[in-house]
Symmetry: C4
Subunit: 196 residues, 4 copies
């Protein structure tokens, strides 16, 4: 099967996930600047989650870009990833509502961890379908970055149990690692397009 609608559906779901989070920025009933100060935790958690969903969109974009055709298993691995990503607005709002308390930050990390694993499963499912010598398999390689993220999420979750802000720092760190675009795949893209 062609991949067009998988991309379109994923784009739609990710666009909604990234946008409904802004609805948690509840409009203050007063018109003074002080009202905005109370929104700072919500704003910061929104910003971090926006970056995370942006990272997932970019990586999803890069990964599917290298694939020609998909199958039913890929569709479900993709739905699985979208399901866990759809819970990011919930944990984001929970963090914002409670100004970085222990359990919300803990659960935020758990959702990030499950998203990371789900992304890994999607990558494996795609490689299984396209073959170990496909452009995608070569581009992903050993996926050190993906494995590192999963380790860091686990560390962040553990830290958050003792210190919520410490946990958030780890999550921000993982986001920063990914903000650097995936050179492996991008190089591969340029390479294969130059050859083509």
């Amino acid at each position: 099967m062609k991949k067009g609608r998988l991309e379109a559906f994923s784009d739609g779901v990710l666009a909604i996930i990234i946008t409904i989070m802004v609805l948690e920025l509840k409009v203050p009933h007063t018109a003074d600047l002080g009202a905005l100060v109370h929104l700072l935790p919500v704003f910061f958690s929104y910003l971090l989650s926006f970056v995370y969903v942006g990272i997932y969109w970019n990586n999803h974009h890069h990964m599917i870009y290298l694939v020609e055709r998909i199958n039913g298993a890929v569709l479900w691995a993709n739905h699985n990833l979208l399901f866990w990503l759809s819970l990011i607005p919930f944990v984001t709002a929970w963090i914002g509502e409670n100004s970085f308390s222990k359990w919300p930050v803990f659960c935020y990390g758990c959702i990030l961890l499950i998203c990371g694993i789900s992304y890994y499963i999607l990558a494996r499912t795609l490689v299984k379908h396209t073959g170990e010598n496909s452009a995608l398999a070569v581009a992903i390689g050993k996926d050190y970055k993906g494995i590192l993220s999963i380790i860091l999420y686990t560390i962040g979750i553990t830290v958050s149990y003792f210190n919520a802000v410490g946990g958030m720092v780890v999550y921000v760190l993982v986001a920063l690692i990914w903000l650097v675009p995936d050179k492996r795949i991008e190089r591969r893209l340029t390479h294969s397009e130059t050859k083509g």
Copy 2:
């Protein structure tokens, strides 16, 4: 007419349906883990409905994939399906709000049943347009799975009148049947693409 925008519009509506359900996971005002326990019925009903909408998206994807061109009747059969699917978030939220009470579970089954019938009508409308010898008609065949689902929904609705949880079990069962990808169409897809 070409099918591109029918796909894009359906993808958009399904992406929104699948995502607005997560808004029912109301953010707890307290930051303890116990607050999440109260959300378990909402979470489970969200998960089941996510899977159902995912199934519909997959089947819709497979079915339209085999069609070359559509007409006005197909557009309305598709709108009809989308309308009933758009009620899934409502009945899902009703179930979650009342922790699997009788009437919400009963109505959930009714909506699933009407969605199943609407999907069947869409399939028939497409076959009528593409002809009984088209790739789609051959792939769908006698559609035992669709008919079985409609029978099971009816059983589930009846069961839920006496035992709500029993009804839910039947609905989960139907979802599991569909989680197995539609081999008929997928085989057909691979077949026709190999030939092409």
Copy 3:
């Protein structure tokens, strides 16, 4: 300019408009069937508006289908139409909230009227861009149906001032007229595709 993104953006906006209306179906806090009876006015107004947005999507689909290229004026005529369509959920909810009272029904008709006029402006803008001999211009012809709708909306608005339910009947009537697909354009489509 090509029309691809105009279609994609319009599909997105229309998909959201048609789906957020279902959010007005507020989940009852009780689990009895009687709770649903109170929702009947909301349900009926949702159904009517769903059909109207569906009609606009279909007609928009048919109309843009016949156009090859667009310009800046078309973009704004399209935004104008989308703006007024985006108010349909508001008036729909107002009707549902007040069980078909006079002013909500009156305003519903006004929005439908302005949408009808906006659609007419979009059609004229497209014809001006593509030329009076274009496939679109021929397909639209004198646009009796569009003019008839505008007359009927005006009648419905007037009737609703004296009898709200009477006004709704007129709006339902206009919807029924459009439920019949636009044979002019569909014939044209088939015709031009056969030639092509």
Copy 4:
């Protein structure tokens, strides 16, 4: 990389941004016309923001249209723009809720200013990627209009500190400047398509 999914994702996010603003038009609980009068500030701020998002969509559409390929830096410049645009519904609602008070109008201008700068950054990132002699670079030219807008936003913000309505007048003025389609790019489009 090809630009298809960047366009689709941006269309999705912009479609949602433009549509969720209408949710701020809270349905009145009474059915009299007077209830609508209270909504006029909300309606007017919605209208202005709809026009602004429409302008951004048009300009985004024109700009990406001239680009053949994108890279990772473009993706993030685009995410950055979308993030700031996603705050428009928030400041719009804040203005509407407080009927054009000083600080909401002030902040509205700040968000518009940051959006303007983000758009400028996206344009620069694209030109850096496509080269100073690319169709895009020539079409954008010195971007007087973009720079003028940024100056006017700054003036509007300053004015709003002393007179909120005065600030709004400036913002409306900037919108009017952009309502005139970007002739530079449109001429370029027609030109390059005629040559092609």
